[in-house]
Amino acid sequence: MKDFQYLAPRRLDEAAALMAEHAGSAQLLAGGTDLLIFMRNGRKSPEVVIDAKKIPELTRLQLDAGRLTIGAAVSCRTVWEHPEIIEKFPALADAATLIGGIQIQGRATFGGNLCNAAPSADTVPPVIVYGATAHIASARGERQAPVEEICTGPGLTSLAPDEILVSLSIPAPQANSGAAFLRFIPRNEMDIAVANAAARVDLDETGETISAARIAIGAVAPVPLYVEAAGAALAGKPVNDGSIASAARIARDASTPINDMRGTVEHRKQLVEVLTARALRRACDRARGEKIQ
């Protein structure tokens, strides 16, 4: 690994000033489970590494009147150990318990997963379907963006080199809503998604009709993909196999996977359809109050 300077600012404005001073040659360090590997194999060689984990705004995990704020440097394990998150935002726990093994989950963060911008990033489809807002700061000021606008290509984001992802905030779930995330890998643990899918549904008070839905899929496009049309097609539809199947087909048609060592185009398209349908069914079951871990 090339030599670098390590800095651990304790305030966001200090970190933002350092990012401005070293824009282009600095990298933020959250859990390091992507960054340190890339630095070791030479894919990244920052001159300055700025530790994100001493900055209070980035390490906060807060539920405030139902609204969830996940600091960008909060670990997956902190998220899945939070009983209220498991209950209110189960799709986040679905993904947080799937990243690597326990060792990786203790370090890997939601912010790092998003900013690393892998098409297969497992926490990104769930935060997209929950309608998360990304809070971004730099020495030039603060801004917000819908989370689906952050990843722009494999390893690429819409963040400027001096910008810091501070947190993701997720609105309080409505009554009768549920969500789920599923991933396909050839084994049970420790692999990168061949395909993944997240779904969220809001049901009406009868629990029989879908009033709104959001669907996002991963590892089947250059970025984790928000498939707005698939969710929109479910609005006003009854909860049944027919509505779920047609939304899953829209997700399949929106995917543009590649052939690689993990899977073929055909296999991945098939997986998108199956995983989307299953995630929708599980989301509906959860919306009706079933506890499924």
């Binding site: 300077q5 340190l36 590997i37």
Partner: protein
């Protein structure tokens, strides 16, 4: 470019100071600076768990953390598991159930198992398998490892 930093951390209950370069991982420093060679290097990229240690109560791969990040932290390694000559119940169970063959993965598995028992003193088999999923073993076929941990739970 940036020289060495002085880091103060508690290692197995004892406060230690060490010098390291920012680019040195916690694994390198444990082994090459502090001579705590019980923690093993397998893959050096987070996949095998041979370097598992517990930092401030959190199980992690020491190859995926910079040693400078350990400033002010409490680090537990395999060297701290036994009490003097008295083996930890997990270590005894690994011996009795042959939870090891070549032994290179053993310190990592023991630290993962310890982290699990610290949090969940009476895990079921499913939980044991889940917590050991971040550790690879080329020899035992895993079943003996799982049985060893379950035996330590009963003890």
């Amino acid at each position: 470019m940036s020289g060495k930093s002085l880091v103060t951390a508690t290692i197995n209950g004892e406060e230690k100071q060490f010098l390291c370069e920012p680019r040195q991982s916690l694994l390198e420093v444990l082994r090459d600076v502090l001579y705590l060679t019980g923690t093993k290097e397998g893959c050096n990229d987070g996949n095998c768990g041979a370097c598992s240690v517990i930092v401030d109560g959190v199980l992690l791969d020491a190859c995926c953390m910079l040693a400078v990040e350990a400033e002010g932290s409490s680090v537990e390694t395999i060297e701290g598991l036994a009490t003097g000559d008295e083996l930890h119940p997990l270590q005894r169970a690994f011996l009795e159930e042959t939870g090891l063959q070549c032994g290179i993965c053993t310190p990592g598995f023991l630290m993962s198992a310890k982290a699990l028992l610290d949090k969940t003193p009476r895990p079921d088999e499913q939980q044991v398998r889940h917590w050991l999923a971040g550790n690879l073993c080329r020899c035992t076929g895993y079943d003996k490892l799982v049985r060893s941990v379950l035996k330590a739970v009963e003890a």
